[in-house]
Amino acid sequence: MIVQLFHKPKCFFMALAVLLFSLSCNNIVFAHKVVVFAYSSGAEIVVEGSFGGKRPAQKSQVSVFSDATGDLLLEGETDSKGLFRFSKPEKEGSLKVLLKSGQGHQAEWLLTKDLVQPVQNSSNTNNEKGQSTVTSHVQQAGSKHLAIDEHELSTLINQAVAKEIEPLKHMLHQQLNKGPGIIEIIGGIGWLFGIAGIAVYLKNRK
C-alpha cells in the first residue's frame, strides 16, 4: 500500500507543500480556541482573554462565579486589549471565570482561594487606615526617623510585588496560548498514516 503512495508522487508532494507552508506561518493566529487567564493584581483581579499569544479576545463576555456555590457574582466585557478588571469580592473563596467570545468559543479559569485572598485582606482594609497613618507620620517627621507600622508596610510590599509580577503573569498567559508546534503537527500526520497502515494490515490478514 505504501508503494502505491509512491506511485502518486505528485499527490505526496502536494501534501508536503501544504505542510511546509503551514509550518512557515509560525506566527499565525489560532482562532480555534480562546484562552482565558485571570490573576490578582493588588486589589483587583485581571481577566485576560485571547485567541493566541498576540490576538486579544475583544468584547468577550466575562462571567465570574463563586466556585463553591456556583452563584454568578458579576459580569462584564473585555476591552480592546482583551482585559477585564474587577475589584476583589469581599467574601473569600475560589472564583471561576468564564469567558465567551461567541460562535461557541469559551474557556474557563479557576482562581483558587489562596490566590484571591491574601492581597485582598491587607489592601482592602488598609486603604483608609494607611492614609491616616501616613499623615500622622508626616506630622511626626520632624524627628527624621520615619516609623512605618506593620500594616502599612505589608500594603506597600503587596502593591510593589503585584506591580512587579503582573508582566510575568502576562507572559505566563502568552505561554499558555501557544499554538500547536511542529512536533504536534508532524506527530498528528504520523498518527493518521499509522492508523491507515493498521487498517490495511488488519484487512489484509483476513
Binding site: 500500500m1 505504501i2 502505491q4 503512495l5 502518486k8 505528485k10 499527490c11 505526496f12 501534501a15 501544504v18 505542510l19 507552508f21 503551514s22 506561518c25 499565525i28 493566529v29 489560532f30 482562532a31 480555534h32 480556541k33 480562546v34 465567551k100 461567541g102 460562535q103 461557541g104 468559543h105 469559551q106 474557556a107 474557563e108 499554538g179 500547536p180 504536534e184 503537527i185 506527530g187 498528528g188 500526520i189 498518527w191 493518521l192 498514516f193 492508523i195 491507515a196 487498517a199 490495511v200 484487512k203 489484509n204
Partner: protein
C-alpha cells in the same frame, strides 16, 4: 470553526455523535481498502488545513477542505474527518472530545452532501467537472457555517444573528475553497483519474 467544550446541550451532542458514528461505519464499509492511503493523505491535509489562516479583514479564518474530502472520498470523508478531529482535539486542544461529534458533524455532513450533489458532475470531467469542483468546495463551507449556527442555537446566541455573522465571514473562504477544490479536482482528473471515481459506491471493488 471548533466549538469549545461546555458550550452545547446534551441532545445536540448526542444527536450529532450518533450521526458521526453512523457515517463513520458507513464510510468504512464503503471504503475501498486499496485506496486507504489516499484517505490518510486527505485526512492529513484536512488536519493541517485548519492551521493555515487566511486573514479576512479583522478576523482570520482557516481553510477547511471538507468539500475537497467530500468530492474525492464520498462517505469515506466521514471517518477521515472524524479521525483528524480526534487528533486535533488530543494534540492541539482544539474543540475537545465531548464536542467531537458536533465538530465532526459540522465538517463531515457538508462533505457528504456535496459529494451526493456534485459527485457525478466531477466524475464527468471537463468543464462540468470544474464547475462541480468549485461549487462543491464552496457549498461545503457554506453548509458548515450554517450547521454551526444551527448547533449554536441551543446556547444563548440567536440563530439569525449567528448565522449571518458566520456566513458573512466565511464568504471569502468559500471562494478560496471553491478554487482549491476546483484545481485539485482538475489536477487529479489529469494525473490520477481513478482517484475521483475510486471510493464511490459504484461497484468497483
Amino acid at each position: 470553526m471548533h466549538i469549545s467544550e461546555g458550550a452545547l446541550s446534551l441532545p445536540i451532542l448526542a444527536g450529532s455523535g450518533a450521526f458521526v458514528a453512523l457515517g463513520t461505519a458507513l464510510g468504512l464499509k464503503r471504503l475501498d481498502y486499496d485506496k486507504i492511503m489516499t484517505v490518510a493523505l486527505l485526512s492529513s491535509a484536512f488536519f493541517v488545513a485548519s492551521l493555515i489562516h487566511v486573514p479576512v479583514g479583522p478576523v482570520s479564518m482557516h481553510l477547511m477542505l471538507n468539500g475537497l474530502l467530500g468530492v474525492i472520498l464520498g462517505f469515506g470523508a466521514v471517518p477521515a474527518i472524524a479521525v483528524a478531529l480526534i487528533l486535533q482535539a488530543l494534540l492541539f486542544q482544539f474543540g475537545g472530545l465531548t464536542v467531537l461529534g458536533v465538530n465532526a458533524f459540522i465538517m463531515a455532513a457538508p462533505a457528504v452532501i456535496v459529494y451526493l450533489l456534485f459527485g457525478s458532475m466531477i466524475r464527468a470531467g471537463g468543464k462540468k467537472g470544474l464547475i462541480g469542483g468549485f461549487l462543491g468546495g464552496s457549498l461545503a463551507v457554506l453548509l458548515s457555517a450554517l450547521f454551526m449556527a444551527v448547533s449554536l442555537v441551543s446556547s444563548d446566541e440567536s440563530f439569525v444573528k449567528t448565522a449571518q455573522l458566520l456566513v458573512t465571514i466565511h464568504v471569502p473562504i468559500m471562494f478560496i475553497e471553491g478554487l482549491i477544490t476546483m484545481f485539485s479536482v482538475s489536477f487529479l482528473a489529469r494525473v490520477q483519474p481513478d482517484l475521483l471515481g475510486s471510493v464511490s459506491p459504484s461497484p468497483a471493488a
